[in-house]
């Protein structure tokens, strides 16, 4: 287990200041679009796929974040389906999941690992 973790390949995605407070923005890594969220109120960061599984729209980074029963979430701007930022499950009662990725902050930069989804 430990070994795997050490092998995690971190990719420098952007500066922390590129992502708005209590909001998100998209980064492009290779051909992937990743939504990065800066949950300033709790000091946590999250990374998920940018595509909303509902109508396959590249949009989640533009969604509003917040919480439902203390689970941090993002709401898709199109039809307001909501997804847990922690494990990607759909919180509005449908059978969708979005991918979430490991994320870390170092020296003012955001690092994401896209090889192993959480």
């Amino acid at each position: 287990m430990n070994e795997v973790l050490e092998q995690t390949k971190w990719i420098k995605a952007c500066r922390t200041t590129d992502i708005p407070e209590n909001g998100g923005a998209a980064v492009k890594i290779g051909n992937e679009q990743i939504a990065v969220f800066n949950f300033t109120r709790t000091g946590k960061w999250y990374a998920t796929q940018n595509e909303c599984p509902h109508k396959k729209q590249m949009i989640l980074s533009r969604g509003m974040i917040g919480c439902a029963d203390n689970i941090p979430k993002v709401a898709c701007p199109f039809h307001k389906k909501t997804f847990s930022l922690e494990n990607g499950t759909c919180l509005s009662g449908e059978d969708y999941t979005i991918k979430t990725f490991p994320i870390k902050i170092e020296n003012g930069y955001v690092y994401i690992s896209i090889n192993d989804e959480v």
């Binding site: 995605a13 952007c14 590129d18 992502i19 708005p20 407070e21 209590n22 909001g23 998100g24 923005a25 998209a26 980064v27 492009k28 679009q33 990065v36 949950f39 109120r41 709790t42 109508k55 396959k56 729209q57 590249m58 949009i59 533009r62 969604g63 509003m64 974040i65 917040g66 919480c67 439902a68 029963d69 203390n70 941090p72 979430k73 709401a75 701007p77 199109f78 307001k80 909501t82």
Partner: protein, 833 residues
Amino acid sequence: MKKIIVAGNGMVGYKFCEKLISKSGTDKFQITVLGEEPRPAYDRVHLSEYFSGKTANDLLMAKEDWYKQNQINLLTNHTVTNIDRFKKTVHTHNGKKYNYDYLILATGSAPFVPNIQGTDKEGVFVYRTIEDLEMIKAWGKKAKTGSVIGGGLLGLEAAKALLDMGLQKVYVIEFAQRLMPRQLDEKASAILQKQLEKLGLTILLNKNTRTITGNQAINGLTFSDESSIESDILIISAGIKARDELADKCGLEKGPRGGFKVNHLLQTSDPSIYAIGECASYEGMIYGLVAPGYDMAEVVAHNLCQPEQTKTFNGCDLSTKLKLIGTDVASIGNPFIEEPDAKTIVYEDKHKLIYQRLNITADGKYLLGAILVGDTEQYGMMLQTYLNKIVLPQNPENLLFANKATESSDNKNYLLNLPDEALICSCESVNKGAICRAIDEHQIQDVNTIKKCTKAGTGCGGCTPMLKDLLAATLKAKGVYLRNILCEHFNYTRQELFDLIRINRLHTYDDILNRFGRGHGCEVCKPAIASILASLYNDNILKQDTIQDTNDRFLANLQKGGTYSVVPRIPGGEITPDKLIVIGQVAKKYGLYTKITGGQRIDMFGAHLNDLPAIWEELINAGFESGHAYGKALRTVKSCVGSTWCRFGLHDSVSFAIEIENRYKGLRAPHKIKAAVSGCVRECAEAQSKDFGIIATEKGWNLYVCGNGGAKPQHAVLLASDIDKETCIKYIDRFLMFYIRTADPLTRTATWFNKLEGGIEYLRDVIINDSLGIAEELEKEMQILISNYKCEWKEAVETPEIRNKFRYFVNTDEKDPTVQFEPMRDQIKAKEW
């Protein structure tokens, strides 16, 4: 298993089956239903809604499955033609034969068609079945004038239906000296008549129709007084006659005015044959309403299941409230009783067209009957007072004004003082006790759930207002106060939060959440608070971009596929050729699809997020401003060309529309706001379908408010007439601010208005008479918003920190590579999702 046959699958026949199944289950009786109509029983009471869009299916009392599930053998298209009482069999028109142990006759009634020459002409109809309505609808399409014979409950309903179908002239022809002679006294009828004339009906009284004229099809009517009218369609609604044909054939006794004669167990002269509903004659009386029929169904179903404890039918109350006709009319108990048997209290307001009459006992203790025209708000309470023999208050006339009196008035709690047995819903026989228990046990907070749990209010719907009051009173008594709170993060209504933020002068979402909320917010409270902040300070919304809804966050409407649309403001719809050219050039340069919108301006679709600032920069340089098509904000003020060019124009509607649009541009509100200005009553700008609308008159302008197009169109109501421009603007300032302060999130003015207690009178009081003493404050607040206006796109383009937010990826300047368009008619469209 005993065999039951039900002849007739109408409202009462169906209700009987429903009650029997709920009492006995499916294994005690074998039920066969023989119905003449081609479909299962439907809600005849709401038949007229077929004209307003309900389908035959919507109206069904229960779907066909229901009969199957409950093992009821339903045979539609089966008319019972004879009964062999000795063999206990019924025979149908198609030669079939069925055995019964008990036969329930529920054959209802048919419209009574008086003996007038020409009733067989095309275009002459009755009003009873879906098929009748289908034919009326088809024929009505080519009719210009119409008439209805019969000024009773049903006739008026039919007349209103003709009016709603768009006929230009509709007559109601009544034989008696007044309308609804069986429910209303002379004065009440006179007021009702005025109301109906206002709706557009022409009422002819004392008219005895002699012939229906025309060759094959009707073209008019002549009367015994030698007068005549033109009419391309006629509906006869002159009363009902019971469907009792079977009585003569098999020797059952009939009542004096027809109908199967029944005793208080609803047995006909043959004890194994019952009759219920409109075909039954009890003590010489035929009840032409559904509630007595349901009572009869209850008695028979009960007695068949529990013969040891029989229930009896003892007649029924005939209080009624007229529905659908656009004016309120009700009668309770004995409407006509006079001195010396009763004393009457009468209130008449010829200005507002209200007439109310209470008949009380000589000692002033009990209510014996009532008539209400123009205002039936107190119907529910009066009916209960009458039915439950509740002792009247000291000043019985207060009954007339109860709801309008103060909170503390003893009438306010009338519902709580009712005994538990008080029948609230007479259609479904649900009493107060049952409703209160349901509210308690299921912790009900809304009327729909009461309906689901108890069935109360699912019949004629007349008791719905009482259910509301009862719910509110019960919850209030329990200390629960119903509020529309924002979401799980804020235990406040929008109005409460608005005041809290205003008084504490808070400016940021986080401050507000920390002070008054909990958790970390969500997509409901963030935009709601963003809107409140914008309505209070009108500061640039992108200072807090992540609490804005997507459209607001990028100052553009998000489209299918992830691109945006661009809508520059074109005040009043007026635009110069030069500006038109700029729009064309910009659209061409950035590959945008262009379309004229329904709001008299031009929309450019398909813009990449990254391109938005550049597009706007070019537009702004040409003199355009943001059109706020993306915001819950003022959208467009449409105009018609008005007196500058139009030969009918009374004033310059374009200039006024431009002035208004420029005054309120950028104003944010709980929902979008639309307006229009028309230059004369021809109303080419459709001002009466807007949140506020202005129409030129000879003497000034008429101001309308709270109209809506869209999903549920609603005409605006007249707030003030013949006012000058300055007054008009003053009232609009007040009106808009009052709406902004008090409406729930995402509530258009029309919906807000519909919930406003006191309606237009109240609104007029607040806006024009300043009854709350806030008019000046409202004007000041509006002035602040207006003077803080800046074009937010201009600021966005010119401020690097804001402009920088319009990047699709934050780590590269690429545009969204997944965006795809398809060609269409020389332009592009978004790829299907």
